[in-house]
């Protein structure tokens, strides 16, 4: 029962700190593009508080799926985050919730909510964005599944707490080549899921990933925006718990260390994002998705062969 309290703590603390990383990332990107950008790292906090004050508009045709959309998105994002055993990594009973398959299918719930709200809003660009989101999911899902499959088969269980414990104690780790190669392809999948430059462009075009939120305004928009950030953090968190789990036993220290690591990754992603070229989404996926798929298949073959 205490693991649920730890999960809530985990979620709330990341919800509060995540906008800071977002501010840092925007500041860094501005600097890299040699422009001034926001005065300090807290610009995202100011944006969100301003949004909360604003009144909202809604398309006349939308029904309750659109109205409850933001809350569903936030719930899915937060639930994704809760599956990552940062604070409650000691008791393995929490494995009932912290499970790889639960993580993947909560990701599916998030994509379902995304698609349904985008088409329901009636906004043509949101519809195209929703479609793009699903295509993205279809490309990323197999790669993520193959790499996770290798990890699960090596660990012999899908319980994240167990996997984290095994990797920490070194029973399975980078000394097995399948595991190492799987981590590379999983890293690519994580980068795609965070929705950065070559695969998705948040701010500018409407029809891309962020465009789905085109119809939201005011407090709804802020919750939906927070949900997206939570999803990115959760994905990075999953990478960290499996492939880089070394952390403290004490829940609070573990949380702080985890948040720092996520911050580093989140901001580091800006470097790739900033200098990468801007492809059309489908072409970028088509010719850049094949190599990671091959890498993950190599990892699987290595495992099947028994290495």
């Amino acid at each position: 029962m205490d693991s649920i309290l730890f999960m809530i703590l985990q979620v709330i603390s990341i919800v509060l700190i995540a906008p800071l990383f977002d501010g840092m990332a925007r500041k860094l990107r501005a600097k890299l593009q040699s422009r001034e950008g926001a005065p300090d790292f807290f610009q995202t906090y100011r944006d969100i508080s301003k949004l909360l004050k604003r009144s909202r508009t809604a398309p006349s045709c939308a029904h309750w799926v659109f109205k409850t959309g933001p809350f569903a998105l936030f719930a899915a994002g937060a639930a994704l985050l809760a599956t990552i055993p940062i604070t409650y990594s000691s008791n393995s009973f929490a494995g009932a919730y912290a499970d790889v398959l639960v993580f993947i299918y909560l990701g599916a719930l998030l994509r379902f909510a995304f698609g349904a709200t985008s088409i329901d809003s009636g906004n043509p660009f949101a519809g195209v964005g929703g479609g793009r989101e699903q295509i993205l999911g279809i490309f990323v899902e197999p790669v993520m599944m193959i790499s996770l499959l290798v990890v699960i088969l090596l660990a012999g269980t899908t319980n994240l707490v167990e996997i984290q414990h095994l990797v920490r104690s070194g029973e399975i780790g980078y000394h097995t080549p399948a595991f190492a190669i799987a981590s590379i392809s999983f890293l690519w999948a994580v980068y795609v899921e965070t929705g950065r430059k070559p695969y998705d462009l948040a701010e500018a075009e409407q029809e891309l990933q962020e465009g789905v939120l085109g119809e939201y305004s005011g407090s709804d928009f802020s919750i939906a925006h927070a949900a997206l950030i939570l999803k990115q953090v959760a994905i990075i968190g999953l990478f960290l718990t499996i492939f880089e789990p070394w952390n403290f036993e004490n829940p609070f220290l573990a949380l702080i260390v985890f948040i720092l690591k996520v911050g580093i990754f989140y901001v580091a992603a800006v470097f790739i994002d900033n200098f990468g070229p801007r492809f059309k989404v489908l072409t970028s996926l088509k010719n850049s998705a094949i190599p990671p798929l091959i890498i993950s298949i190599i990892a699987l073959i290595l495992y099947v062969v028994g290495v």
Binding site: S60, D99, L101, A108, A116, D120, N123, G130
Partner: protein, 653 residues
Amino acid sequence: MTQVYFLYVIGCIISLLLYKQNKIAAKVGFSISAIASAYAVFYFLVNLEQTVSINMFESLLYSPKLVLNPLGNFFSFVVSLVSLASSIYAIQYSGEYEKKGSLAVMAGLFNAFILSMLLLIASSDVFWFIIFWECMTVISAYLICFNDSKSSLKAIMIYLGIAHLGAMCITAAFLIMSAQTGSLEFSSYENIQLSPVMASIVFLLAFIGFGSKAGMFPMHVWLPKAHPAAPTNVSALMSGVMIKVALFGIIKFCLWLPVMEWWGLLIIIVGALSALLGVLYALVQHDYKALLAYHSVENIGIILLGLGTGVYGIAANMPTLAAIGFLAGLYHILNHATFKGLLFLGAGSVLYTTHTKEMDNLGGLARKMPLTAFAFLIGSLAITAIPPLNGFVSEWVTYQGMFQGALSEYASSRVVFCIAIVALALTGALAVMCFVKAYSVIFGGTPRDKKIFENAREVPVTMVIGMFVLVAGCIAFGLGANIVVKDIMLVVSSFSGNYEAVNGTVINSPMGSTVSPLLIAAVLVITVLIPVVILKLAKANRTKPRQTDPWACGFKYDSRMQMTASPFTGDLRRLLNWLYRSETKVKDQGYFAPVVYETHAKDIWWNLLYEPVIKLTVNTAKVVSKMQNGNVNMYSLYILIALCLFVGISYLL
């Protein structure tokens, strides 16, 4: 048990007697079947693990006995659950067929259809199994006839042809086994000694026979044609339950025969293929009933993955793998029956009010039909295996079974299990895309056709009750997963291995990983409350939102601008055009008229596997029919030729 069958017989007879008054006949017939199914659901649930055996009348051929073991009880429970929902649904739905045909016959055939399925599960000798099997096929074929149209006749013919091919394969398989044991009783098959070659032949025959009825990959061609043509309550029953009865046959065969490893792997490969191809074809459908029919093919694939793992477990005598394999298969059979029945009933309600199957001119129906929209949403969430609902738990168990299979030491089985796992993952992602499209294009957004939107209204109350019975089923089997798993383990342990599957509310797999849907639901509820609390604390401006037109970059918004069904999956269709070979028709009617653009993906399997065979037989028929050319001399020459032939043959003998 006899009361259940007896109730259905009464229902059938009474509705036929009221042949003259159509309306009352439908109401009485369907309500009797609803009562009978309710009683059946209760009866089969209560004594799930008893084995009951009664003999039918003595004077019948081969004096048949009806035997229900726990496996039979489980399947009868699934049959009666979905028939309960669809008979309640049909009480008022059948009003739509008043002009088309006599409702009394429809109600009578409906009762007979359910009765034939229940008796099929309970039958215990070859002759009567085949009789009930063909009764089920013929009755369901003629229930489809109520939707009288040119295309439905062709669909029925394809369905009957493939079903009869399957029935012949099953008869041959049964008779090879009874030639071995000497008697037609199923009990004599328990300890059958067959050489591996004969056992494989019998297994392949049974697999093709039952697979053709279940809509497996190579023989799935009839399913997307027959189900959309049937009236809704019949198609809900057919795709929810009739397909499962076919899988019941496969399980029985795998329990009798001396099982071999490669059988399990074959079932898994065919299952993976059916799953992938089913969902790929479902993505590009315009007609939402065909979409649901293709999804039945996909879910049959997933069930076969579970059953294949179970069969592999028995063959490699790993009892825990067998137990989790069959647990996964049976649990997904139960879940698929509920959410597929729900989706078909939902689709039927949409058809009932809008009278069009084309997804592209529906839209915004949620405001006019909120209850149906909610039911369809729950169905879509369940079928795409979204965590708190029942689809997720059964797919989780299937995954666990396959993970354990993938740990086995033979490289070949490891490869097959890994491919199956990846296929299941990809199917999951594709299913999400498909049902996002299906749900939101029909119910969300602005209405695309004014006239349809005007006269769309909520469906009558019994149809809503019928749907909500299954909605409750989906939620109950999802959240109450531990009770369901306990019961299914009772059934599974009755015929194969056993392992400690449930403690408290947590379901654990033999590999040690656990999941508890209740915990997931609790976390989701809490995480929904967090934003509400944040908004309260930050005293956000929650005034009523201002109603505007959706933003169209400054242009005047028009309902034709929004996303419709085919562009949503357009990228995927272009990517996989080598599979779909869709022909696109672009009609440009002058400058001012809108351009008509249509793309229809073709199911290439029909003209890849079936068309050449049909063409061959028809050509030989044309050649042979030249023999009867009406000339007497030729006919007398035939007699002479026959004489010489037989003399020649007798020299050889």
